[in-house]
């Protein structure tokens, strides 16, 4: 039943932590697909389970029910070299240079030295940090660290890159610039990207498809195909279509909040 272009298929995914009366349902009946080369975003309120979902996709934790398929086969454990993750805090190893950070996963995957060094060099060039290859993370700005993290992910030549609110820790201006940078890089490499954010603007600006997640227990409550043409530009953000899409998502989210409040399920 797998669709031909699908890279990732999520079927009826559920995740509950703990058991008995104290059990917490983090995710409930999540299903979606990601096509090859697509840029898919996931938006939702804080604490709705977005990170949990990402960790299950990455094979870091197991689902309680349902399954995740990558190119047809089930994900049960981390798949180094096929699934790469970019974390919110860049998570660069502070005692290694930018260059060494990018080669590090390749070392772990036993890629021969000349290959991995060439790959690291070209990825750093791609993200525009070739001149900073020898710098240490504490010498780089937040945006630069994220770019190294992205280069590190790309260097593994993965089937899909999972990004967990990668620009969350940056200020607004850097965030916008990084978004554009990411689109440029995505355009060049056409990698499949799954991007988690809580910024509706960012999600719409960057993606082909936006998935909207509800409050805990997280469910996919909307799926929006973004009609804006590529390449995306800043003035699109002010356009009527953009505003409509944004409002649609916003209404979905707030409707969920109101319903939850009415049912007395909102946490303090």
């Amino acid at each position: 039943m797998a669709s031909p272009g699908a890279v990732i298929e999520v079927r009826s995914l559920g995740k509950t932590f703990g058991d008995g009366p104290g059990a917490v349902a983090a995710l409930e009946d999540i299903s979606f697909t990601i096509e090859k080369g697509q840029f898919v975003s996931l938006v939702g309120p804080s604490g709705c389970g977005k990170s949990t979902l990402l960790q299950i996709l990455a094979g870091l934790i197991a689902a309680s029910s349902g399954e995740v398929l990558i190119e047809g086969s089930r994900v049960t454990a981390p798949l180094p070299g096929r699934i790469a993750i970019v974390f919110q805090d860049a998570t660069l190893l502070p005692w290694k240079t930018a260059f060494e950070n990018v080669t590090f996963p390749l070392e772990a995957q036993r890629v021969p030295k000349p290959t991995r060094q060439a790959k690291a060099q070209s990825m750093l060039e791609l993200v525009g940090l070739a001149d900073f290859a020898g710098k240490f993370p504490h010498q780089l700005s937040g945006g630069m660290k994220q770019r190294v993290s992205i280069a590190r992910g790309l260097a593994q030549d993965p089937t899909i890159i999972l990004m967990d609110e990668p620009f969350g820790a940056l200020d607004e201006q850097t965030r916008l610039k990084m978004g554009q940078e990411l689109l440029r890089i995505w355009d060049r490499t056409r990698k499949t990207i799954f991007f988690i954010t809580h910024s509706l603007t960012e999600a719409l600006y960057l993606s082909d498809v936006v998935l909207v997640m509800s409050r805990r227990p997280g469910r996919i409550v909307d799926r929006l195909a973004v009609e804006l043409k590529r390449p995306r530009t800043y003035d699109m953000i002010g356009s009527a279509e953009f505003g409509q899409a944004r409002n649609r998502i916003w209404r979905t989210i707030t409707a969920g909040e109101d319903a939850a409040a009415a049912a007395g399920m909102v946490e303090s």
Partner: protein, 252 residues
Amino acid sequence: MTARLARRLLVAAVILGLWEFVRRAGLVSAVILASPSEIYLAFLSSGSEFLLAFRVTLGEIAVAIVIAWTLGLIAGLFLGTAAYAAAVIGPLLSSLFAIPLITWYPLLMIWLGIGSTSKIAYAALSGFFPIVLNTLNGVRQLDRQYVRFGRSIGCSHLAILFKIMLPLALPSVLSGLRIGTALIVIGVIVTEMLASVGGIGFWITYHRNLYDTGQVYLGILLSLICVLVVNLTLSRVERRFGAWRESEALER
């Protein structure tokens, strides 16, 4: 020669000069203080015996270091990664840390005699606590994100431990090693002072009983030098490997 170094040497020279003067002028009696020249004379007259005592002490320190470092690091790394064990044992260890360990030495004396073994056991025990506690804390305070990263790129458990967690925890670990080693040096010398047949501590006590101030101060000076050497070397190592940690802290 930098200005700072010159200033420090000047201060040291002034202190030495005053020290010498205070004795020469008879302001302080010979029974209380030994001047630098008296210490030097004591050194010359003691000759090989003093150096022999020094060798004994150094030997004990070395063995204690090997024991404390190995056990402390292994225990700290293990506890750091085993959350439940750490939650159970960690608080017990840090409560035990408050006990005056020196009061346990007479017990060690009964069990192991007054030779080198009891000294080594005591010193290793003193050094063990700070090493375990600092290593444990260093590993526990790591951002779990790094572990997830390691797993996502395909590192084995051991690889994650040694290639990611240990380097990240290194500043804390080194700090623990520095404190622990200083305690080892002092532990050996103090227990030698209490009851021994050799070593610098014994030298100090023996000559104190003879009121030979020159030799006593010589012994104390050497002990000080040992502690300072340990502190300086390990601080240097700490700074070299922890440089990124300080820059990060400054950033915030």
